[in-house]
Amino acid sequence: MSNSIEVEIRDMVSEILEVPVEKLAPDVDFFKDLNVDSLKAIEIVAAFEKKYRIIVPEEDIPKIRNLGQLIDYTRNISS
């Protein structure tokens, strides 16, 4: 997992949530801290799936609550 993919994911989330990258620390909670609703969450997953051509199983979606977890998730899949 290269650093550039981390940057890619961070930029993608930043764009979807309309939150500047500086505010997207790996442990900032999407739902509690950034007011992400279910629709936005699906949008992040959909953009992620489209970009990396992978399918995130439904049961995994609630486990991804911050940028760090999303990056870890990508790391696990790619390994």
């Binding site: 629709l39 959909a46 051509r53």
Partner: protein, 410 residues
């Protein structure tokens, strides 16, 4: 119970020839057209190149940057006009009174952009990889709902999709809500946005000017051969007169008679006697209690379609008799194109300007007279005059038609 009088207290408009009421009114008065070559999509595959496109609209100026990402163009246009109207009417909508306000929007084709983008992704990316954010904007009531969400309006939210007459039909629906005392004020809007899908649709049906003649919107002129498509949004705030006075609102005009009708005939064909339009005008006159001679101006729905402009002329003559020759009739669609469901709200916004600034907007591009269209069309130059009552018509080949009388307040 005394019947409520309803007044207009706010206005927001984004038209192809002007953003904001002052710019819009000035363009109409000067005869400035907003019809130009389309920039939003490639028209090289068409014989036609023009539309009444809104080209200098920056949504950030009205709505800020946050939340724009998921707002498709139709919602941006409607929300920005709604913002102008709310500010113009000086409404103070908050958590305590959010139920007192409603939204009623006329729109029919505005979701087509998202629908076709989603369809394209389904095919090119496959169902698993479609953009989820396109989906909420695929329904016809998306824009109206976005207005409620953004401005915290919780009374009611309705979208009326009756094609050409959607604007006046939406107004009638909103008026009924206020008359039944179920709501205090309503944002009545009309919106359509240009997309490759609706441009292609009208083109393929042979509805465009330029397919069989000159590509120009010239209502009532002998050269007319079809519509030039338009887009944009307009929103007015209507409320009970007593409420408006109580809160010290500025009143633009009074909502007077209104009539609408559906005449089932054949899909996409005009009834040869224009029965629906005549019934609508008669209905509006009846419940306005005006005499024929009190109508100072008719803001026509005429859109440069051969049959439509002739039938509209015929309907006016049959309702008003010989007096029809004394009433100036003009079509602003010569300057903004045919904005479909938003047309009526543009005509209302224009007519408020007519009353306020004392002018009749011209029918532009009028050069060659047609014996079937022989009324006073205020050709090519606006007319300075006092206006107390305007009849506004909405008409088209879909079977729906509507008419509305806007009157000076006090």
């Amino acid at each position: 119970m005394k019947e409520r009088k309803i007044v207009i207290t706010g206005l927001g408009v984004i038209a192809p020839n002007g953003i904001g009421k002052e710019q819009f009114w000035e363009s109409l008065k000067e005869g400035r057209s907003g019809i130009k070559p389309v920039e939003r999509f490639d028209t090289s595959g068409f014989k036609c190149k023009m539309a009444g496109e809104v080209q200098d609209f920056t949504p950030e100026d009205y709505l800020g940057t946050k939340g724009l990402r998921d707002l498709e163009r139709t919602s941006r246009l409607l929300c920005a006009s709604a913002k102008m109207a709310i500010e113009d009417a000086r409404l103070n909508i908050n958590d305590d009174n959010a139920d007192d306000y409603g939204v009623c929007t006329g729109t029919t084709l505005s979701a087509l952009w998202n629908i076709s983008e989603f369809g394209k992704e389904l095919i090119t990316e496959g169902p698993r990889f479609t953009g989820a954010s396109l989906f909420p904007g695929m329904v016809v009531n998306a824009a109206s709902s976005q207005v409620s969400i953004r401005f915290n309006i919780q009374g009611f939210n309705t979208t009326i999709s009756t094609g050409y007459s959607s604007s006046i039909d939406a107004l009638k629906y909103a008026i009924d809500f206020i008359k039944m005392r179920r709501i205090k004020a309503v944002l009545v809007g009309g919106v359509e946005s240009l997309s490759l899908a609706n441009y292609t649709g009208f083109y393929r049906l042979g509805f465009f000017a330029g397919i069989n003649g000159e590509e120009v919107s010239c209502p009532f002129d002998k050269r007319r051969n079809g519509i030039v498509l338009g887009e944009g949004s307009a929103v007015i705030v209507i409320e009970d007169e007593e409420d408006a006075l109580e809160r010290g609102a500025h009143i633009y005009a009074r909502v007077n008679g209104i009539g609408n009708c559906f005449e089932p005939y054949r899909i996409g064909k005009y009834h040869p006697e224009a029965i629906g339009l005549k019934e609508s005008i008669k209905g509006a006159m009846r419940n306005s209690e005006l005499n024929k001679s009190e109508v100072d101006y008719i803001s026509a729905s005429a859109n440069s379609v051969i049959v439509q402009d002739r039938l509209e002329t015929k309907a006016i003559k049959e309702v008003y008799g010989k007096y029809a020759y004394n009433i100036p009739v003009s079509s602003i669609k010569s300057m903004i194109g045919e904005p479909f469901s938003a047309g009526g709200l543009f005509q209302i916004a224009a007519s408020i300007g007519s009353m306020y600034k004392g002018f009749i907007p011209p029918t532009m591009n009028y050069e060659i007279a047609d014996e079937a269209c022989d009324l006073d069309y205020v050709a090519n130059k606006s007319r300075i005059t006092r206006i107390n009552n305007v009849l506004i018509t909405n008409y088209g080949p879909g079977g729906n038609s509507a008419a509305f009388i806007l009157s000076k307040w006090n």
